[in-house]
């Protein structure tokens, strides 16, 4: 009953026109950005996060949560209408969504996508509400050795599942940890890796770096393509009959199953919506009575993919809020925004800022209703968003990036950090070195270092402290096991050469997703479709 009481207080807290307007504005902005191919959800949250630093947390964070939700849903619109997923998380939606649109059943695909998204998000939000607080109550009893091992496990997982090479993932983690060390040592006060620069004494500013790595690097990638974007709009993409009750009833088991998968995967560090959508899609095709329709216009396929990716959004907030471990890159940016608002994620967050947190949970529920109403009303107009030319879009985003990066600390040096981050991000994407491990390691490193030091201080320098606690020992064994597995996989997984995709349009569409797909090392081998020449497939 405590949870419901707290939730009621949360609703009271956010029942102001400012909070609700911010959430609605964020949702609308997120849908628009998500619907634009090339603009990712992470990019949207990173670029717009600095706006919220000047707002109260009950206004700023709802805005960002709205963007997050809107962008993940918005990605399905171009996936259905122009066969180009707006975000990597909507890649699986494109398979059946665009096929349905070609058959003149685009409206059914768009409405299925919306309804599945809303239901999945709603259920996952309830899981977040009922799991997060009890988990935090347990986590508060964790000691520093337990947290040390938990951070190590999270970093190992992120290094292992991001991209197709464990070595590159681990390297990215190491670089992130190094970047977090720049500045003054919190205990001794010694300068570390500042190379005599006064600007680096305070460390590397996180938000400008994130804007550079996620937004500027994407702009550089798009510039390389010369703004080339195939907008082969499918005739009648929003035509035909919508989702009726009979079809909806048939989809309920698929939506619920995919929601379960998305919620579980979202709560694990490193496995974001991009992976969840494919696993949900794969399981749905296996369990379907009409598996032959998958890839050729299956409504179940659209529902599975969309429920799978949208369930991740609230679920990824569980490790972020309870342990301070972001589940994916978007929650990593959100973590930065929480910290900027003075809300330090971790088990104490529920004790110190309980009412505000329940306010955020309430806003997650409210935005679901908003998404449904807004989506149903605007569904046939949303596809026009994809017509905005990249030549106007990316210069505008560039200006917003510079404004946002400066706004964080009012420091010119942050522009240099952002541009350097952009160049580094671009080179990392080109060479398939995953960016998420770097960002997440940079966020986790201070906590990891602090917990290592605390553990050793408590144990008078004895390393046995890391195996004396049963929980720490169990997590250590788990970490070592996954490390051995990922290392083995790196050396023994031989890629299979495949013939190139004949469709230039499909190749272009896939290229948009390549960076994300390789980051997560995901394969659609089971379906035997669209493998790349290195044996990996986008998505």
């Amino acid at each position: 009953m405590d949870v419901l009481d707290n939730l009621a207080q949360g609703f009271e807290l956010i029942s102001t026109w400012q909070s609700l307007t911010a959430a609605l504005a964020g949702l609308a902005a997120g849908i628009v950005i998500g619907a634009l191919p090339g603009l990712t959800a992470t990019m949207a949250v990173a670029v717009l996060a600095p706006f919220t630093f000047f707002m109260e947390s009950v206004i700023g964070i709802p805005f960002l949560l709205g963007i997050y939700k809107g962008a993940i849903y918005g990605g399905s619109i171009p996936a259905i209408t122009i066969n180009t997923p707006g975000t990597a998380a909507a890649a699986a939606t494109a398979l059946d969504g665009s096929a349905l649109a070609r058959q003149g059943r685009g409206r059914l695909a768009l409405e299925t996508s919306l309804v599945a998204s809303v239901i999945a998000d709603l259920i996952a939000t309830f899981v977040l509400i009922f799991v997060a607080a009890p988990l935090a109550a347990v986590a508060i009893k964790f000691g520093s050795p337990d947290f040390t091992m938990l951070y190590l496990f999270a970093l190992t997982m992120i290094a292992g599942v991001s991209g197709n090479s464990f070595a590159k993932g681990a390297m990215s983690v190491g670089l992130g940890m190094l970047m977090a060390c720049v500045g003054l040592d919190p205990v001794s006060g010694y300068q570390r890796l500042t190379f005599g620069s006064i600007d680096l004494l305070g460390g590397i500013a996180l938000v400008p770096l994130l804007i550079g790595m996620f937004a500027l690097s994407e702009i550089l990638i798009q510039a390389e393509k010369h703004g080339r974007r195939k907008l082969a709009e499918i005739d009648g993409a929003d035509q035909g009959r919508g989702l009726d009750l009979r079809t909806f009833r048939r989809l309920v088991p698929t939506i619920l199953r995919s929601t379960g998968i998305g919620t579980f995967l979202g709560a694990l560090p490193g496995l974001g919506a991009e992976i969840s959508c494919w696993i949900s899609y794969g399981v749905a095709s296996k369990r379907s009575k009409e598996p032959e329709k998958f890839g050729k216009g299956s409504v179940e396929g659209v529902a599975a993919a969309e429920a799978g990716n949208n369930a991740v959004c609230p679920a990824a907030l569980i490790p972020m809020m309870v342990f301070g471990i972001p589940g994916d890159t978007i929650t990593a940016v959100l973590l930065g925004a929480f910290m900027a608002q003075g809300l330090l994620p971790g088990p104490l967050l529920f004790q110190q800022h309980g009412p505000i947190l329940y306010g955020f949970f309430a806003i997650l529920l409210v935005t679901n209703v908003m998404l449904l109403v807004f989506g149903l009303g605007a569904i046939r107009y949303l596809r026009h968003i994809t017509r905005i030319p990249p030549g106007l879009l990316y210069p505008s985003v560039t200006v917003l990036c510079f404004a946002g990066a400066f706004a964080v600390n009012n420091a010119t040096f942050d522009w240099i950090v952002m541009v350097a981050g952009g160049v580094a991000g671009y080179l990392m994407r080109k060479t398939n070195v995953p960016i998420p491990p770097l960002v997440i390691a940079m966020l986790l490193a201070p906590g990891l270092e602090n917990n290592i030091r605390q553990s050793l201080t408590l144990s008078d320098g004895s390393y046995a402290v890391f195996v004396e606690s049963p929980l720490a020992a169990a997590i250590l064994i788990l970490t070592l096991t996954v490390t051995v597995f990922f290392t083995w996989r790196s050396f023994h997984l031989t890629p299979t050469p495949q013939p190139p995709n004949p469709s230039e349009e499909a190749r272009d569409n896939e290229k948009d997703l390549d960076t994300q797909a390789t980051r997560h090392g995901h394969r659609r081998c089971r379906h035997g479709r669209r493998r790349r020449s290195d044996g990996r497939v986008p998505g």
Binding site: F54, A167, L175, V187, A223, P395, A403
Partner: protein
């Protein structure tokens, strides 16, 4: 460039970064040596741990790129195109331009120039955007959020 060669290049760069950290730390934290690695409470321990991780993963990557099976399925890595290089040069010019001319003027110039890199030349749309967006950003940040952008010679 072949993927295996690119991987080896990444490994060399990562090893160099790792070496720089090990060389720089004794200047930053007095009394630091390789033996400090055993002292987890030292200020140098964590950067050393991170540098070691970078170094070890670089060696793993280099060894992996020499692996016969990965060489057999060696892909090409896309070369860096001229447009991203031009864009980065543009970004580097943009920063002093903001100080020289002011945020609004520099943003307007950027919006006028950047579409060309994307092959977009419809100035019926570019011109209004170049006027409206910088003023919108100025209004939002300076007037509402009270963030003071650098004001240069113009605006």
């Amino acid at each position: 460039m072949r993927k295996s060669l690119s991987d080896r290049l990444i490994a060399v760069i990562a090893l160099a970064i790792s070496a720089v950290v090990f060389l720089a730390l004794p200047h930053d934290v007095p009394g630091t040596s390789l033996a400090t690695f055993a002292d987890m409470e030292s200020a140098a321990f964590f950067p050393m741990l991170a540098a070691t991780l970078v170094g070890v993963s670089a060696v793993m990557l280099a060894v992996g790129s020499l692996n016969t099976s990965s060489r057999r399925a060696d892909d090409d890595v896309d070369a860096i195109g001229p447009r991203p290089v031009l864009m980065v040069i543009g970004f580097c010019i943009f920063i002093p331009l903001i100080h020289g001319l002011g945020m609004v003027t520099a943003s307007a110039i950027t919006i006028l120039v950047l579409p060309l890199v994307f092959g977009y030349r419809d100035y019926r749309w570019i011109l209004p955007l170049a006027v409206l967006l910088p003023f919108a950003v100025y209004g939002l940040f300076e007037k509402i959020l009270k963030v003071l952008f650098p004001h240069g010679a113009v605006f």
